[in-house]
Each structure stands twice: as structure tokens, then as C-alpha cells.
């Protein structure tokens, strides 16, 4: 799933490891989500949204709505 996780993380100056630590997941998970190779569960998507204080749809792009531009 296309998402803005990498951009949001970069804006805060966090490494993948930093984000993984905050989300209490592995760095591999963050990498897989950022690169669109893994779609997080709804609970994890909510945790990500709460961490960035954004609604889920501001981070993850609905597959039916296409590109994240």
C-alpha cells in the first residue's frame, strides 16, 4: 500500500530503527511497510497514525484512490 511513512519519518529526523522503537515493532517491519511490501493491520495502522498525530488516510493511500501525490 502506498504511504507517506518515509516522508513523515524523515521530517522528524527519525531513522527506521527510531520509528520501529516508538512503534514497538522490528526495523524490518518499518522497512516493509515503507516500501509497500507489507500492509499493516488496522491496530498497527492506528498506532502509526497516533504516533504522527494524523488520520490514517493522511498516511496511507487508499488502493482505490491510486497514487499518493
Amino acid at each position: 500500500m502506498i504511504n507517506r511513512l518515509k516522508v513523515l519519518r524523515a521530517e522528524r529526523g527519525w531513522s527506521q530503527g527510531d520509528l520501529a522503537e516508538r512503534l514497538e515493532v522490528s526495523r524490518q517491519s518499518v522497512n516493509a511497510i515503507e516500501t509497500g511490501r507489507y500492509d499493516p493491520s488496522l491496530p498497527l495502522a492506528f498506532r502509526i497514525a497516533e504516533l504522527f498525530a494524523l488520520p490514517i488516510e493522511a498516511i496511507f493511500v487508499s488502493p482505490s484512490k491510486g497514487d499518493a501525490a
Binding site: E24, R27, Q28, N31, A32, I33, T35, P40
Partner: protein, 135 residues
Amino acid sequence: MSRTPAMRHYRTRTIWLALLYALTLCSAVYCFKHQLVSGPVAWIVGTLPALAIIGVFVAIGRYLVEEQDEYLRMLMVRQTLWASGFALSAATLWGFLEAFDLVGHIEPFYVAVLWFGGLGLGRCANRLFGADAAL
């Protein structure tokens, strides 16, 4: 793969089970070779190596229950699906060939060996087909 607490527990359990397997297998082979056991004791001694292998299946199940990282859990599930598909396919194929007297008999416990080999295949598949690529 990450060193999550669940993965550490899984590795510790599998190392102990591998040691237990080696010990029980060597003991069983020695006992049967020298005809030291018979009757119910023979059944128990013959069962012990299998229990160690079954323990590894249980350890994998416990890992899947204990792993809090959903992505890593998904990778292990994929690995076990690959392992199951590989081992069952190979066993089915061999079974038919054996039934038609085209190949010799192989002991069924080799299916477990194939399954463990399939776990390695699953790990390669995770890396090749995207789920764990470039890590």
C-alpha cells in the same frame, strides 16, 4: 531475522530440542542394535526421538503465538506454508512412484526432514518474492 523475545525463546527451545533429538536417537539406535530393550520399553525408547521432532513443531507454534511483531509472524507463517507445500508434495509424489514400484521405500519420518528443508525454501522465497526482500 530480528532478535525479538519470541525469536530468542524459539531459538533456545529448538537448540535444546535438537540436543534432545541427538541424545534420544543415539540412545535408541544403541539400545535396539544391542537388543537392550523389548516390550513396552522398546515402544517408549522408539518414540522418544519422534517426540523431540514433534517438540520443534510445537516450538514453531509457540513462536507464532508469542511473536508480537505481526510482520515477522507473517514471514514465519509463509515459511511454514512453503514447508508444508514442499514436504507434502514431495511425499505425495514419492508415494505414488513407490506404489507403482518405480522407486524404493523411504521411511515416513523423512517427511519431517523435508519439511525442515522447506522452511529454508520458504525463507528464500520470502527474500526472492518480496516479503523480506532487501533486508
